[in-house]
């Protein structure tokens, strides 16, 4: 394919280029990619209103961060680096609070964190003093190698090693491992651990420490994809989650919300996502069943299931007698008991109107839920479509003179489609909670445009391929794909700006 063809899409083609570039580079050596992310570039700068600053970090980078923070505290407080690290871990890496508290009462802080800063008694392996008996193995052979933390509780090296190994391997502990003596709160520092355990155990220990570092640090979050070892740093604080949806893209290809750790749920804010998911978990199936199988008593609104018998209903709660078919009062049925042909009577019409009103809430919910679930399901079919696309791409290479690189547009279109479906899905959760006003109307217009475009693209991708019209198909798919991406951008940008300006009104408190 020539450059010109891409160029013919002008600016919009650019986006498409980015997407395929990304796919292509995926197979490359990941490490080179990573290094760039960490050292060459700082934060990824947002381009659109709905994007946020973030950067992806690998384990080495996370370690480097811990290291630099420890060094900083080491310098400020004038204590050894190991102690600085232990203190920081105790304060969950809240540097400011640590420094403030330490300036006020250094002794208290040290004791609380289990640190003793005495240079002369630095823990090291040394022969046990005369008359020593290890309180763990009860061994008292002379000249055993032994170790004591600065608290002075001495145990033989073998027991201490076994103790540390068991804490790290079995209990998964790292920053809170205390001296082996009963009730002694002194923390075993990193250096001492390295003296005691084997290399694999020490590596595990370091991994665990890194894990707690990320967990403790509000700016960091592990990528939730299975097996992914990257963490993502994003400066959006929890308090701002009402006005921004911090979606980040990990180097592993997974997109997720940095605020709550769940899947990419743009444009819906975290609080509404939580409400919605809870509602769906509780309600959707039950609501569906109620919708299909029950009616409400026209007087007291109790939900009634008719599980047999005739149409003459007597409400258990209020004793109201009515007709199941037309919902009119039974008294007006006269002798016409077992069949109802009174549909147009005024009284039964009224009864149906009230019924309709009370059903409205439920219907409203189901309206949004069904669309949400539909897009969710369609997005899940993405794998299938991927496979199909793969096949289609092969087909195209065989039946036309297009090369591999030139048929990549299909895959990019499918990826695009899936992403739009995810966005659409969450627009329904968002819309469910929106109060009716002009803003909402505009939102729904955007939603409709995107949805229509997505369905058209989807149809296009499902079509069988005909050798004669490949050129045309490609053109169409590319055009539509670009258009869809544009619609998504418009919708997301508008919502994001609305969030930032506090423009949206919700029917619930968030």
């Amino acid at each position: 394919m020539s450059e010109d063809e891409y160029d013919s899409f002008g600016e919009d083609g650019e986006d498409f280029m980015d997407a395929s570039d990304y796919e292509l580079s995926d197979g490359n050596d990941d490490t080179s990619d990573m290094d760039d992310d960490i050292f060459a570039e700082d934060m990824r700068k947002p381009r659109e209103a709905y994007e946020v600053d973030y950067r992806v970090l690998d384990v080495a980078a996370i370690r480097a961060m811990q290291d630099s923070e420890s060094s900083q505290v080491e310098g400020i407080l004038g204590i050894e680096k190991e102690h600085a690290a232990t203190l920081l871990r105790h304060f969950r890496w809240n540097k400011d609070r640590l420094i403030e508290r330490y300036m006020d009462a250094p002794e208290a802080v040290l004791q609380e964190a289990g640190v003793i800063t005495d240079i002369h008694t630095a823990p090291r392996l040394e022969p046990a003093p005369a008359g020593f008996c290890c309180a763990i193995c009860y061994d008292d052979e002379p000249d055993m190698s032994s170790l004591a933390l600065r608290c002075g509780h001495r145990f033989c090296k073998e027991c201490y090693s076994e103790y540390m190994t068991s804490k790290i391997q079995k209990d998964g502990e790292s920053r809170r491992i205390q001296c082996a003596a009963t009730d002694c709160k002194v923390i075993v520092d990193e250096h001492t651990v390295s003296l005691l355990v084997t290399k694999p155990v020490y590596d595990k220990y370091r991994t665990l420490l890194t894990r707690t570092y990320v967990d403790d640090n509000a700016r960091l979050r592990w990528c939730p994809a299975p097996g992914c070892e990257y963490a993502v740093e994003c400066p959006v604080p929890q308090a701002a989650l009402k006005s921004v949806v911090p979606t980040v893209h990990c180097n592993c290809g997974n997109s997720f919300c940095h605020g709550c750790g769940s899947e990419d749920h743009m444009p819906c804010i975290c609080a509404l996502v939580r409400l919605w998911l809870r509602k769906c978990a509780d309600d959707s199936e039950t609501s569906n069943w109620i919708h299909v199988n029950t009616k409400e008593c026209t007087r007291c609104n109790s939900t009634i299931e008719k599980n047999g018998g005739c149409n003459h209903m007597t409400c258990r709660k209020c004793q109201h007698e009515f007709c199941w078919v037309c919902l009119g009062p039974w008294s007006e049925h006269g002798t016409n008991w077992y069949s109802c042909n009174r549909f147009d009577e005024a009284s039964s019409k009224d009864a149906r109107d009230t019924q309709a009103k009370s059903r409205q809430q439920l219907e409203r919910y189901l309206h949004y839920y069904n669309r949400y679930a539909n897009h969710d399901q369609s997005a899940h079919l993405d794998k299938e479509l991927h496979n199909k696309t793969e096949k289609k791409m092969e087909e195209m290479q065989q039946t036309s003179d297009l090369s591999w690189i030139e048929v990549q547009f299909l895959r990019a279109a499918v990826d695009n489609l899936v992403q739009c479906r995810m966005t659409l899905k969450w627009t329904y959760a968002f819309a469910y909670y929106l109060a009716r006003d002009n803003q909402t109307e505009m939102f729904e217009n955007n939603q409709r445009d995107l949805e229509m475009a997505v369905e058209q693209l989807s149809e296009m991708l499902e079509q069988p391929i005909n050798a004669n019209n490949i050129k045309e198909l490609k053109q169409n798919v590319l055009d539509k794909s670009t258009y869809v991406a544009k619609r998504r951008e418009v919708l997301l940008n508008d919502t994001a700006r609305g969030l930032a300006d506090d423009r949206w009104r919700y029917m619930v408190d968030v």
Binding site: A135, I136, H153, S166, A180, A181, T182
Partner: protein
């Protein structure tokens, strides 16, 4: 499997320097398994009782705590009806420097001072909490009397 020196030594010491009110004998066929008897502490509702327990030293001992369970029924907020004991040193506060002896002493102390704020048997704890004041002062009300009743029912010879 070889028995660590520590276990042999502990058993030796339990025999040579017994703790008052506590008896622990290890089985001949399995030296890690102990029959324990703790005498109810004086001035507790368990006074006069002899409580049987079983104690087992897992392979990881002393890196992991021993497993201890009451065999005698006991009305106590930190011990449930299966005899399981809620005691911090048997769980997260375990230290390899603790021993069978110290564990049993702690259990004895738990009999003297029940801790209804960290209950295992909820109903019993509720009972203790609700009228511990009255119970201890008068020595007649539940749960004190219930504990004494159970002691007489199940823990006397």
């Amino acid at each position: 499997m070889a028995i660590p020196k520590r276990i042999t030594k502990e058993i030796g010491r339990l025999v040579s320097e017994p703790v008052p009110g506590i008896e622990a004998k290890s089985h001949e066929e399995n030296i890690r398994y102990f029959d324990v008897t703790i005498t109810g502490p004086v001035q507790s509702p368990f006074e006069g009782g002899a409580f049987k327990l079983e104690l087992f030293l897992p392979d990881e001992y002393p890196m992991a705590p021993p497993k201890v369970r009451f065999l005698t029924k006991i009305y106590h907020p930190n011990i449930d009806k299966l005899g399981r004991i809620c005691l911090d040193i048997l769980k997260d506060k375990w230290s390899p420097a603790l021993q069978i002896r110290t564990v049993l002493l702690s259990i004895q102390a738990l009999l003297s001072a029940p801790n209804p704020d960290d209950p295992l048997a909820n109903d019993v704890a509720q009972n203790w909490k609700e009228d511990e004041q009255g119970a201890i002062a008068k020595g007649t009300l539940a749960p004190w009397s219930a504990s004494r009743e159970w002691t007489q029912l199940y823990a006397s010879n």
